[in-house]
Symmetry: D2
Subunit: 364 residues, 4 copies
């Protein structure tokens, strides 16, 4: 399929299906000398993990990641980092019904038309389960960016269905199961989710991600602009249907005098651009926003067809997130980290910072 | 910079600055046997061309494209297609002032921080002038898709500043200078633009692009999903700040029962997905929407700094589009065509359709 | 490092160090519907495995490969195939001495200068141990090529140090530990190797690889010619110092009338070209030959320096192949299979053969 | 075709047929700030140019290169460099005969089987005429490597048919039409070539290329080793059938004690490795050697078939090089320069050396 690698110099290649033996990933291009252990990744994996509140799927996955290569004596060596997460919760289940049906708004129909076959156990490769590996890989990028460059990447849920966060307090984000920065809205969100669950329906969400401390100069016009690569990365996350940078769709009815971020010797006066000008980082915070569609796995019956083209009624039982957006914050952060890391290496070199103390000898 | 190539099997690599000698492009991977002449591209180039109404920049460029290779006896040969457009309107102008200043919301500041140098004549490489080559390359993809697969790609302006198109008539799109499908809104748009021009300000816009006739199966999960590559391609267009597929940001407050596109043996009942499920085309129309920011080249003074970090006041004189969105429709169509072409080749092969009549001989 | 992926549409990305936890690989782009099990790979892995005769290293590795993804109900699904081989023979050893020294003709010195650090346990990433994964990935390509296209790829050792195979009998190749097609030379080779082992020295070798049944048309000029990609693939094998296609260096003093392979309606009359014309397969057998240098891990002392630049005398103890060429035949076959597979997909499409029985539905 | 780009960070994409309108090239990734003019390239183009002695084809091409973009005020800007060479000597000729025949050992047969069509005028895209663009692009790499890093790349013809250069004097290389470093052999070569021309036959050759001053650390194991990429680059040159690094095929009967290059604090004691250990440059000179086959365009008749599979006798008239190796030295140098440049950028970054004097401003 050849679409399972992201990045040019910092490349992340993943494998694994929802109900297969394991998920895995190869990170190629991580500079040497970075202190790295499983704990660095586990932290972010745990934030994404299902089953941590009643508002997410009750599937239980330990999501324990193991480093298989690329780290020696606690530090990266510059060689590829192999990661693996064994799937533990592969309940044996009767798939006989679903194997012949196409669930509406799922990838069942399209995978079948592409490959002539699909792994119907829990969505197979099209399941959001694969995003666990993105989070693990993102954690490596994130650590490098933070330690070497002081870049901090943070996300939050800014809207859950009709409920918008109005206040913004970073400290609140991890105080509730929604990654919501507005504590006042949390009770409302909880009530909304509880009702939704009873109903058997699902809802969309909006996630914002911000990178602080990005130096100016990252991005490779004209096609590999920083914002274009961010759009690619973020739109590749399951369920994402829209991506904005800075003012985003808000710029449609902005006038130029309003939109242009004026500059003074002390700094930019605004950030409608979202930190990217001409496809290159400006030194301002990078700001992106994404829309996630409501889960399509519903208890409420929906019309569909089977593999032979006959009409069927589909009901999805099992354990599903009624709002996939809730767990998407760490994934969006991870993808932004991967993009920034890749662009940093493209700009400044994979080994630009390596110090070698051994003398160079010539030839006699 | 290495960011000037788009695509994996159908690759488009471009060069050229706003005020350089020429723009050029190499299309690699076009299948053999496609009838192709300059006229196929000129048609789209003329739709993008400036100076065709009072609402766009008055810079005059013939934008005449020449095919330098890859076409033999009127048909493509499978070898790279070299294209060139000579720049004709390179008015000699005094750039001494602008060469030391950073225009707000332009790429001046970021190019300087990336490269340590910039071509300040009309924006150099960061100018939207380079999109002429995208349109030429897109015309090749579009012709292949139309002739071989019956795919039709069409765009239109759905919003100009505060004015939204409400009716949708494809026949109207080319009857007005805005690519607006709603004839009733055209007078309003004209008046708005005239006022804006007097004011010296600019405005944003929204463009929609639709591809009909796309077969199911195109897209390479998990990273090179069709929608992710579309997001990459569309966000790489100058001034674009947001990309939506199907329902886009509208899906945030949609419930699952509303969003999921139910299926019957006769067809899908809705298209909130925008023709992409799990990153793969579903056979429904592919629908994308983009937001373009207002031009930043304004007669109205703005605060900025110069290359030494001193405060300056910038006024941009010269010939500029007060709404870059107006000319963006053919560019967005071109980028969608390039993405679909690339994914078709990835899926079905570059030479999958080639018929060879010469017998294969063995070895004695 | 970003150099650990090979191929464009059939991509093989590997990880793993000589003495790390495991070796692994992701194969992306394998078409769906291929029957595949571990046994298909194990066969080739066992041919490469050390310790099967007294002429190779006595390190014992089970080299048992596990498929972690991409195969469902015994067939490939088109999604990435994750493979893993756990390292079992990681003897704890005292590396304190070697960790500060650079072994002559090894990658110790260059890895240190590239990364500022190296994993000194058994060569780390630079060890030929990683080629196990190439063999596993090659087995997948080989099976596809054989089943779908009738392509057969076979290699043999044509020279071991001064001893050249003179007769060519494919049936003999797997009857001796050298992959030698000339049974008469085997006793000579055995005696030579026994003497060499006593001496503590090592020797080079030549391996030839042949692909029969390749259809004409594979190869992507001008840079990704089939022969150029083969050269890349074969030269990337540890210890390889030379690559020839067809007549190779022999063509230097060939005249044109001798070298050109004349054609008749019944077939080519010779194959000096080695099956590649203008970078594209001609339908004749593809023939390549490689030179492998003698192992540099010797018991005989050699002059070198340590990490501080001081002179040292290096002696390599431990278990090493006195002729790495002996085990290289399956590796060379694997790399040729990977190249041919990649070019087949580039030419004819990843999913060109997929049959889909489900009807395409339209949109209402 | 998508095989017309070489390199990862320093990418060279070319177009153009033997008898088309023009040859062209886009160099993407050249760092900013390099002084560059047409003269820098013309020097190398003139060394490759045909018709400079009686021993090469008498086709006359001015091979005048024009820079169309990427250079501003005499220096590169970091944006893509567009180059063009107009074809001037496109004699109108009667191709009716050759258009239906396959010349033995040419790409006629394979192009037809790949694309179903071919441009038969002078070989079209498969002609060595395209190497002019490689030389132009290589000149840019060469200048950067020389000015910034003190790397010098030089080649020479070491064997012409049966005649081997025995002495090595760099100063002689440009004193004769063969690039031969042994003045004593030049008369012999001249006599040989004169006889060959009368005969109507052609002959092979060997070219060596050496890069001095390469720092240790370049190369990206395991697949993108420096030597593997060199093999790819050199084998992609028309007519090349073999590539060696360092001792090359000579290492087959070398013992380990002989082959290993011992080290002392003052330097390596030998260079059998050819400057590459484990796929990474060692700081020693990089040494490569290539074999070029004899031209297949001969006045002497050869058996072949036509497009319908019927037997024909082919005679190639027109202007051809009786030894393509003679003009190959600048091409081999160019390809080595491109590979080293690409690997330097991968290792140290495209903009690692860029100095920016403008202050970074924050955000208010």
């Amino acid at each position: 399929m050849s679409g399972n690698t992201f990045g040019k110099l910092f490349t992340v290649t993943t494998f694994g299906e929802s109900h297969g033996a394991a998920l895995g990933c190869i990170i190629d291009g991580c500079p040497p000398g970075l202190e790295l252990s499983e704990a660095d990744m586990q932290k972010d994996l745990d934030r994404r993990k299902p089953g941590t509140s009643r508002h997410t799927t009750q599937r239980r996955e330990a999501d324990e990641v193991r480093i298989l290569s690329g780290v020696f004596e606690g530090k990266t060596t510059g060689t590829p980092i192999g990661l693996i997460i064994e799937n533990t919760d592969q309940r044996s289940k009767d798939y006989s019904k679903i194997s012949e049906q196409f669930r509406p708004a799922h990838a069942d129909y399209t995978y079948t038309h592409k490959y002539g076959v699909r792994d119907y156990r829990g969505g197979g490769r099209s399941s959001a389960r694969e995003t666990a590996m993105r989070v693990a890989a993102g954690a490596v990028a994130r650590k490098f960016l933070e330690q070497r460059l002081g870049i901090r990447i943070r996300g939050y849920l800014s809207q859950l269905g009709p409920i918008k966060a109005e206040k913004h307090d970073w400290d609140q984000v991890h105080q509730n199961p929604f990654f919501c920065p507005d504590a006042d809205k949390v009770p409302e969100m909880e009530a909304y989710m509880d009702a939704l669950r009873k109903e058997g329906d699902s809802i969309g969400a909006r996630i914002n991600v911000v990178a602080d401390g990005v130096p100016p100069g990252l991005g490779e016009p004209i096609f590999d602009r920083l914002d274009a690569d961010l759009a690619h990365a973020l739109m590749s996350i399951n369920a994402v249907k829209g991506v904005e940078i800075g003012a985003g769709f808000g710029c449609i009815d902005q006038k130029g005098t309003e939109h242009r971020d004026e500059m003074t010797p002390d700094g930019f006066l605004s950030n409608h651009a979202g930190g990217v000008l001409g496809g290159i980082s400006s030194g301002q915070p990078i700001i992106a926003s994404i829309a996630l569609k409501p889960t399509s796995s519903l208890r409420l019956p929906g019309r569909s067809i089977d593999v032979h083209g006959n009409p069927v009624e589909v009901i999805t039982t099992g354990r599903h997130d009624p709002c996939v957006g809730i767990r998407a914050t760490p994934i969006a952060e991870a993808m932004m980290a991967i993009v920034l890391m890749d662009h940093y290496l493209r700009h400044r070199g994979q080994n630009g910072d390596v110090e070698v103390s051994t003398p160079v000898i010539g030839q006699l």
